[in-house]
């Protein structure tokens, strides 16, 4: 049994960690946090040069042609460094949607641009409150144009193109939903940046008014593609979350070793030790669930839907748990703008929602486990 990443994959993780610790220290994340830039352009360019943006994109489309396991190890490092770049929207959502449903021409058009860092992409799915659901999609597609409003769209204000979920029927079934690719720089598209709890990653409202759109995949098959994209993105995002959880745990541990109170390091008090031990437990459970997700993703196994939901839930819980208790271990200093703890807290709570919230994935997991049981 070899339920682990290979030495080459681990080496890639080390490379990514080294690269990000040089190019994406907390100081760089703060440039975006403080509103000085919408995202870290230099880092984005560097990620492209390292081959990280196209790591899972086949070579014929300008990528490195490695695979999803390689993408998982990079995702973990992106989460650990809180990289303020549109990696998840572009790579997990837009690129995966095109890989799953795109025509050869669409792949040729967009994937090389993603791999080279020229194009930022996203998935425009949500229309206000609520979790992913075909019923919630009102934005209409008619005669090759879209009309409606999407919000929130991750990285929508800096994206060059979006994969948009639109209504093409009114039967009340999933087959009413189709996908389109829209060039966000073209006419009929109005983009408004929105403020959100994670100031290092943008969200936007995008209004489509007779915006020209190109079908992605067959009409009426959009929801099936979205489900697949969300499952894949759930695994990849779970690795980001585990990376963030591990870093938050380390920060808490380091502070507990360093901070003296009542004449001793606070890490020698059982109340603090036990809090950190529990953080370690949730981060470890999440990591193991993520590995299973990675295996299912990389082998395109029938277990992917269940594995993705489990990884998503476990990693969401772990990152939230570690981020909030990291602040607790830091005490008052953890609640200052100056300390980095809040950046992890913000990220943990924002990414907990982006692909559908916990309650959505809990429900999905039980549905999927029942299906497996029935089969």
């Amino acid at each position: 049994m070899n339920f682990d990443f290979s030495d080459e994959q681990k080496q890639m993780r080390d490379e990514a960690r080294k690269f990000l610790s040089e190019k994406c220290p907390p100081k760089a994340v703060r440039e975006v946090l403080d509103g000085k830039a919408a995202y870290d352009k230099a880092l984005w360019k560097g990620l492209a040069e390292m081959g990280f943006l196209g790591v899972a994109i086949p070579e014929q489309f300008g990528g490195a042609g490695a695979g999803h396991l390689e993408l998982c190890v990079i995702a973990e490092e992106m989460g650990r460094a809180l990289a303020p770049v549109p990696f998840s929207s572009t790579v997990y959502l837009a690129a995966e949607a095109i890989l799953i449903a795109g025509s050869d021409a669409q792949k040729q058009k967009w994937l090389p641009k993603i791999a080279s860092g020229e194009a930022i992409g996203t998935l425009a799915l949500f229309e206000g409150k609520g979790n992913p659901s075909p019923k919630a999609i009102k934005l209409a597609a008619n005669g090759g144009v879209l009309n409606g409003v999407k919000k929130p769209v991750p990285d929508g204000a800096i994206a060059d193109f979006a994969v948009v979920a639109a209504r093409t029927g009114s039967s009340g079934r999933e087959s009413d939903i189709s996908l389109f690719i829209v060039d966000l720089k073209s006419g009929g598209v109005d983009v408004k940046p929105l403020t959100n709890i994670d100031l290092t990653r943008g969200q936007a409202e995008i209004t489509f008014k007779d915006a020209k759109a190109e079908p992605l995949g067959a009409a009426g098959e959009g929801w099936g593609v979205i489900t697949q994209v969300l499952d894949r993105a759930a695994v990849l995002m779970a690795f980001e979350q585990v990376g963030g959880a591990d870093r938050a745990l380390e920060m808490g541990r380091d502070y507990a070793l360093d901070r003296i109170a009542f004449g001793r390091p606070i890490g020698s008090f059982q109340a603090v030790k036990h809090m950190l031990a529990d953080m370690y437990v949730s981060a470890t459970l999440a990591r193991s669930n993520c590995y299973y997700g990675a295996w299912a993703l990389s082998t395109n196994a029938g277990e992917l839907p269940e594995a993705a939901a489990a990884a998503r839930i476990s990693a969401t819980q772990a990152f939230q748990h570690c981020a909030k208790n990291n602040i607790q271990v830091h005490g008052g200093m953890g609640f200052t703008w100056e300390f980095d703890c809040h950046m992890y807290y913000r990220r943990a709570n924002a990414v907990a929602l982006g692909l559908g919230s916990l309650s959505y994935w809990e429900d999905a997991l039980i549905d999927r486990m029942r299906k497996k049981n029935a089969a």
Binding site: M1, L276, L285, I313
Partner: protein, 415 residues
């Protein structure tokens, strides 16, 4: 990344599988598979006899204590082969419960500290289950703080005279031998005055009394020692070096790798799949699903944590510390799961007769056994200390009795 055996592992698995298929007591497989925490019994058979017979059969064919050297009754197998064996043995592995302390703790301690002749004479019958061993460490005054134990050993010629009391000794009532940690010098700090022995449990002056547990069952005992004589030749390690010897024992505490820990989740998931609530099937209830999902990811997290550890073994690495979380997570989870299963039944959840209770009283049994799980073999709090100190590198607690002679440590009048 894959779940596949290497060719050698596959060959070993096939050999183990074939032998088990031909030799295991198949008639008990169903009952053993369905047994959950708190109730492992066989209808119409004495489980102790069935267990001993199975162990002997395994030993005769070279399938007992696989990782032990052949000279001592083992097979000389690699750690991964041991795991593969456990996977293939499956439910029949539950018959090994009464041997776990002997095989997991006493045997390795003997191997490290007994003389060669003693090893050749005592270890093979321990491996084959013909002789059962227990571990006599905990005392009324020393649970988590084992080094606070008070049972005295005093040298008298070539013998030691033992007086005192042990508690929580699993299986003492059916054990043939035990390893015993005693105090040999109360004038030095507590860790420095301990000595380890092994003894015949039938020695004069040894009295075993079962403890009636909060659950109503009796799995553990108190053991009283009144002028029990142990030959000096049965001392393990140097005089007053017993603490270091005991660390060997505790480090060898059976790794749960491969065997899997009980979480109660599969039972709860099955139960909710068939349970009807007032407004429909439990499994379709939003609140139930949320609870189930949260436990599902803990159960799968433990499962895949153990897969990672097995993979490390397979590569010849030592498994990392992540495996230390199993008991901590599973112990409180099984308690929460049991409480929730009863909650779903309303007032009827309190019924505990096999006839009246849902799922044959499985969850009621779990509920009543679970508090013990969270205490035995290291309390939840000790497990968290271990994770914090050994995994995360946090400092140990300040120990006010560390440099104080044992007999000067305040006892609040309890001796």
């Amino acid at each position: 990344m894959n779940f596949d055996d290497t060719p050698q592992e596959a060959a070993f698995r096939a050999e183990a599988k074939a032998w088990i298929a031909a030799n295991a007591p198949k008639q008990y497989e169903d009952e053993l598979s369905k047994a959950s925490l708190g109730r492992v019994q066989l209808k119409g058979a004495n489980i102790r006899e069935v267990a001993k017979a199975w162990q002997k059969k395994k030993a005769d064919a070279g399938w007992a204590c696989l990782h032990w050297p052949k000279d001592y009754g083992g097979r000389g197998s690699s750690p991964i082969e041991r795991v593969i064996w456990q996977q293939e043995e499956g439910a029949f592995g539950r018959l090994s419960a009464m041997f776990i302390i002997g095989h997991g703790m006493c045997g390795p301690t003997m191997m490290a500290f007994a003389g060669e002749e003693q090893k050749r004479s005592y270890l093979p019958p321990l491996a084959s289950g013909e002789k059962i061993w227990c571990q006599l460490f905990s005392e009324p005054a020393g649970g988590s703080d084992v080094a606070g134990l008070r049972t005295r050993a005093e040298k008298n010629g070539d013998e030691w005279i033992i007086n005192g009391q042990k508690i929580w000794t699993s299986g003492a009532h059916y054990s043939d031998y035990g390893i015993l940690l005693t105090r040999t010098d109360p004038n030095v700090p507590k860790h420095k005055g301990l000595t380890m022995f092994f003894l015949d449990m039938k020695s004069p002056g040894v009295e075993v009394r079962p403890i009636k547990q909060a659950s109503g069952a009796s799995d553990f005992n108190e053991v009283y020692f009144t002028d029990v004589r142990i030959p000096d030749a049965q001392r393990l390690g140097n005089v007053n070096d017993g603490w270091n010897v005991s660390l060997t024992t505790l480090m060898n505490e059976r790794m749960s790798i491969g065997a899997g820990v009980s979480t109660g989740f599969p039972e709860l998931f099955d139960f909710c799949n068939s349970l009807m609530l007032e407004d429909g099937p439990a499994i379709e209830n939003r609140a139930v699903r949320s609870k189930l999902a949260n436990w599902a990811v803990k159960a799968s997290g433990l499962k895949y944590t153990s897969m990672r550890a097995i993979s490390a073994l397979s590569k010849g690495d030592r498994p990392g510390p992540e495996n230390s979380i199993g008991k901590l997570v599973a112990g409180s989870m099984i308690q929460d799961v049991a409480m929730y299963a009863l909650d779903l039944q309303g007032a009827a959840g309190a019924l505990n007769g096999i006839e009246d209770a849902e799922a044959a009283g499985k969850f009621q049994a779990m509920l009543l056994r679970a508090p013990g799980t969270r205490v035995e073999g290291g309390t939840d709090e000790i497990m968290r200390n271990i994770i914090a100190e050994r995994v995360l590198g946090l400092p140990g607690d300040i120990r006010v009795d560390k440099d104080v002679p044992f007999n000067k440590i305040p006892t609040k009048g309890r001796n």
